[in-house]
Subunit: 147 residues, 2 copies
DNA sequence: GATTCTCGTAACTAATATAGTTACATGAAA
DNA sequence: TTTCATGTAACTATATTAGTTACGAGAATC
């Protein structure tokens, strides 16, 4: 797989679920869509379950489905549920022994925090329903190739 | 060392150079300031040299020094010279086979690009001279502990 | 000229993070 | 009872990054 894999895996799965809410998808099917392993899928979607974004059910006709209407789930919800922010402002040392380091940290951390805020603001403006809707829109071409 | 180590190593070194422009610092001294190895320092500062930010000289009284006045070197210059952006918007696949993936990529990449732009805008507003100046300002406490 | 100091760089090792895999337990429906 | 699905631990594989060793080359000093 690739980098940012958790977020893209999650969004991909949720986008499909948004097209058929209530109908469960198995880890196996999702794994095939993403060319990865069912266990990896469970690990990632487990994070979303902990945040009340999806539900999982065992046994026959079990699998994963949305816990809420797709229009109420934003990309920000998913991004934050994954818990691996792109920008992670963390001081190199809590008590910098050197003033240059302290000045540097302050500036860099502030810039990172603001960039992360911009990221989340964008993600808040987009819902899972929007992702699912993309398939109905003028993208029949891609739709034909999709699983 | 830690993550973001190249940028912090570079800014730390440049901050010190800004205090005594023209006076070279050796890789060894810089390495000690950062609890790392002289070779690592040369690798990082070599990137800055390629971008005309610092100069290196061999032999006696050699070492590293600023190639330009500290007030003309912004954090953005350094950040870009390092070549390891915090946000690296890169498509997971150039020709997504699934419309959900395509929609997701578009949204996520756009958000990342904007966040990166915010980051660079902040970094452009701060120069190496500002970092060096932090030592003169009301931080004598930390200054006493610094090398 | 020989020595010493410094960077330049290749090659290797170590540490870390991430993803992938195997294996097995648990629960639910057929 | 069988089958299907998740839950999770433990291990392996891979990639990235930093650290290290070693040695070459240039420049100043002795």
């Amino acid at each position: 797989m690739k980098q940012d894999s958790k977020l893209s895996l999650a969004l991909h799965a949720l986008g499909h679920m948004a097209r058929a809410p209530g109908q469960p998808m198995t880890s196996d099917v999702i794994a095939q869509h993403n060319a990865t392993n069912p266990v990896v899928v469970r690990r990632v979607l487990g994070l979303l379950r902990d945040k009340g974004i999806v539900l999982s059910e065992k046994g026959h006709a079990g699998g994963w489905r949305l816990a809420r209407p797709p229009a109420t789930i934003t990309l920000a919800d998913v991004y934050l549920a994954i818990g691996e922010p792109f920008l992670r402002p963390q001081p190199l040392s809590d008590m910098p022994s050197c003033a240059v380091v302290a000045a540097m940290q302050g500036t860099v951390l502030a810039a990172m925090a603001e960039a992360e805020a911009v990221l989340i603001r964008h993600f808040t403006a987009c819902t899972i329903a929007d992702l699912g809707a993309a398939m109905q829109d003028g993208m029949q071409q891609a739709m034909r190739n999709s699983l």
